[in-house]
């Protein structure tokens, strides 16, 4: 365990903001979803790292990560179902085109 904690955190930080960048700049909804997965993953790493380095005798962080992974799976399934449904309707999954109900 010679790697300091801060290294891991910086790693997740980069991953998180890569996700943020992708979420803001991409039109395709699947790409946005991928960005979200990146962010979630970064957060999972943080949970695990904090748990491991700061509270080694407990395992709440890890359990939380497990739940987060499960919920991410659920979220992804629903999101992809919605995206496919939208694709069927308008043959397009660009977020910018989804403005039928806008003012």
């Amino acid at each position: 365990m010679e790697i300091p904690m801060i290294y891991y955190i910086v790693l997740s930080l980069v991953m998180f903001f890569a996700g943020v960048y992708g979420f803001i700049t991409r039109k395709n909804m699947l790409m946005m979803l991928i960005s979200i997965e990146l962010m979630l993953n970064a957060v999972d790493i943080n949970f695990a790292v904090f748990n491991r380095f700061l509270f080694p005798e407990q395992m709440e962080g890890m359990i939380f990560s497990i739940f987060a992974i499960a919920i991410a799976a659920a979220e992804t399934a629903i999101a992809i179902a919605i995206i496919i449904n939208i694709y069927r309707h308008i043959r397009n999954i660009d977020a910018d085109n989804l403005d039928d109900m806008k003012y």
Binding site: V20, F23, I24, T25, M32, A95, D96, D99, M101, K102, Y103
Partner: protein, 637 residues
């Protein structure tokens, strides 16, 4: 006399029947139905009159009035309530007879006159509506019921004037009539409200039995130098003046001649226009308490009489002449009422004379209008210049028209002579000035009526190259003959026995000094008219040229209409309405619009924020969070 209710119900039923079925009925069927209904109505009215006037008089020699029906319709307070009912007294019974007679004649006449017109059924429906309203007006038991029917009469008048609703002139005339009379009715309504506020009653009987006590004890307050009662009565008279076309509210009547001629005969000559006279007569005991209002009535009446007579002398449209003649004759009745008082039979002569003249005038003026209708029917024009020499072609019309002219000119033994003589006598006794004034007007009357007569029936021999005027059909001549007969004999009805100021019988005796004067004046006027108009010549034109200013002014009705237009358009519209409209449109609406515009502008500017683009939201959220974090960090340093 419970059957009197049917006098009202029948025309109403006819109106509903004809009005609702309208074109489902054949025109002829509709006409005959309406006429039959009116015939029954007339029979009932005659029966009522017979029973009423032959009933035994009471101890004071008064025919007791009756109230066969009276039910409470609207109760405001313990004392103040509006009733609907039927009140029979000598003048209302007399009016019933007049209205039903003239209405029946017009119904019969219209069968011929309106034959083939579009909207024949509608016409008869309106006639029935008018008859119902007018009958309801005269039998009203209280002033508010009278007001209700008063307005109904106005509505039916409006509908009938505008009968030819495709003609712009007719529409304008109907609107003018409605607006002018409505304006006058505003005064009437205010007057009613003031009067009832102080006297706590609408009821005619209560009002007229002891008016002095009621008025003096309850309306003693003064306003601008006159008692409130005077103001109330003057305002009520304003309503009457509007309906009866008294100067300066007369402007609607000449224009109302745009309606079908039988309608003019019924509404604008015989019945509706005398409603004002009837109103004053109905409230006469109350008016007697306020002599200043009676003086006002006299003055207004006299001015109107002279004004209308002068204007009638130069008009060329025969219906206009008759219209101004009507105004003038109604003014006679008003003057007669104005000079009367209710102290005893002798000073109350004017009241009787007014009612008598109302009666005779209704007959002969209806006759004149129906005759004019027959002439218009024959020559298809209202203009005198299109006529002349018609006596050969329309003998029945000619004779009946002549009888009517003689009657209105006041030549014995026709009915007009007797009633006008009573009026002149009454006026002369009150004031010599007004007596001479009215005698002069009577002379003018004879002049313009015979001008009309000679221009229509003599003047020139029509060349008749393209169209020969022919006598009207029997449905039109029969009413003429009937009315001419009535005109001949009506003067001998012992009218004073039936109608007088306090109900006691009054024996009419001719005041020969007055009568002789008026006959001489009338004969001179007729002779002048004959000299000017008997044969086609240049004298009338020369006279008109000699008095160009006066002639033009009289022809343009002394510019009263122009003054009204000026006042309404330039002063009321231009100086008051337009600034108010501007204020409304630009300040009040503008404020509201400004709120709307500012809101709209702001929302248009900021709606981009709510873009619906989740990425934008995320960006703003993130930047915001980072800003807060930065600030926190900076603070902790």
């Amino acid at each position: 006399m419970e059957y009197t209710l049917f006098i009202l119900v029948l025309p109403l039923a006819m109106f509903l029947l004809l009005g609702l079925l309208d074109s489902k009925l054949k025109p002829r069927v509709a006409g005959i139905l309406g006429t039959l209904g009116m015939t029954v109505c007339t029979a009932l009215a005659y029966l009522t009159a017979f029973q009423f006037f032959t009933q035994p008089r009471n101890a004071e020699g008064i025919i007791p009035s009756q109230v066969p029906y009276n039910f409470e319709w609207l109760r405001f307070t313990e004392n103040l309530h509006i009733d609907l009912g039927i009140y029979l007294d000598p003048i209302s019974v007399m009016m019933l007879v007049v209205i039903t007679t003239v209405s029946l004649m017009v119904h019969i006449y219209s069968l011929g006159y309106m034959h083939g017109e579009k909207g024949f059924q509608r016409y008869y429906a309106f006639l029935s509506l008018f008859s119902m309203s007018m009958l309801g007006l005269v039998v009203a038991t209280n002033i508010f019921q009278m007001y209700i029917f008063w307005e109904l009469v106005g509505v039916s008048s409006y509908l009938l004037i505008g009968f030819y609703y495709t003609k712009p002139a007719a529409i304008a005339a109907s609107k003018k009539a409605f607006i002018v009379t409505r304006f006058a009715d505003l005064g009437f309504l205010i007057g009613i409200l003031i009067l009832s506020f102080f006297t706590k009653t609408f009821d005619f009987v209560t009002l007229t039995t002891n008016p002095t006590a009621i008025i003096t004890e309850s309306a003693g307050a003064t306003f601008l130098g006159c008692s409130v009662a005077s103001w109330a009565l003057a305002l009520i008279f304003m309503g009457g003046a509007g309906k009866s076309a008294m100067f300066p509210l007369h402007i609607w009547l000449p224009d109302a001649m745009e309606g079908p001629t039988p309608v003019s005969a019924l509404i604008h000559a015989a019945t509706m226009v005398v409603a004002g006279v009837y109103l004053v007569a109905r409230l006469f005991p109350v008016y007697c308490v306020t002599p200043e209002v009676l003086d006002l009535i006299t003055t207004v009446g006299a001015v109107t009489a002279l004004y209308a007579a002068i204007v009638a002398c130069v008009q060329t449209d025969i219906k206009r002449v008759l219209a101004f003649s009507t105004i003038s004759q109604i003014a006679f009745m008003m003057v007669a009422l104005g000079v009367a008082s209710d102290t005893d039979l002798h000073t109350g002569l004017g009241y009787m004379a007014s009612m008598f003249h109302l009666f005779t005038h209704a007959m002969f003026k209806a006759l004149l209008f129906l005759g004019a209708g027959a002439i218009i029917h024959a020559v298809h024009s209202n203009e005198m210049s299109e006529m002349g020499g018609l006596r050969k072609y329309m003998p029945i019309t000619h004779i009946t028209f002549l009888i009517a002219c003689l009657a209105i000119a006041g030549i014995p033994p026709f009915s007009g002579f007797f009633s006008k003589d009573e009026i002149l006598t009454a006026v002369m006794e009150k004031s010599t000035f007004w007596g001479i004034w009215m005698t002069a007007v009577a002379g003018l009357t004879a002049f313009y009526m015979f001008r009309l007569y000679f221009r229509i029936f003599w003047w020139k021999d029509t060349d008749c190259s393209h169209h020969t005027p022919h006598e009207a059909p029997a449905t039109m001549t029969m009413p003429l003959i009937f009315l001419a007969l009535v005109t001949c004999v009506a003067g001998f009805i012992p009218f004073g026995e039936l109608v007088s100021v306090n109900g006691q019988p009054y024996h009419i005796h001719l005041n020969w000094s007055v009568a002789a004067t008026s006959i001489i004046v009338a004969v001179c006027a007729i002779a002048l008219a004959a000299w000017l108009y008997m044969k086609e010549n240049k004298k009338p034109t020369a006279m008109a040229n000699a008095t160009r200013t006066l002639h033009t002014a009289a022809y343009r009705r002394f510019y009263i209409d122009e003054i009204y237009l000026f006042v309404t358009h330039k002063i009321i519209f231009g100086l008051i309405c337009r600034p108010i409209a501007w204020f409304d449109r630009h300040i009040i609406d503008g404020t509201m619009d400004m709120f709307a515009h500012v809101t709209q502008w702001t929302s248009a500017r900021i709606k981009g924020l709510q873009s619906g683009s989740i990425q934008g939201y995320v960006w703003i959220l993130l930047i915001g969070t980072l800003l807060i974090a930065t600030i926190t960090i900076c603070c902790c340093l």
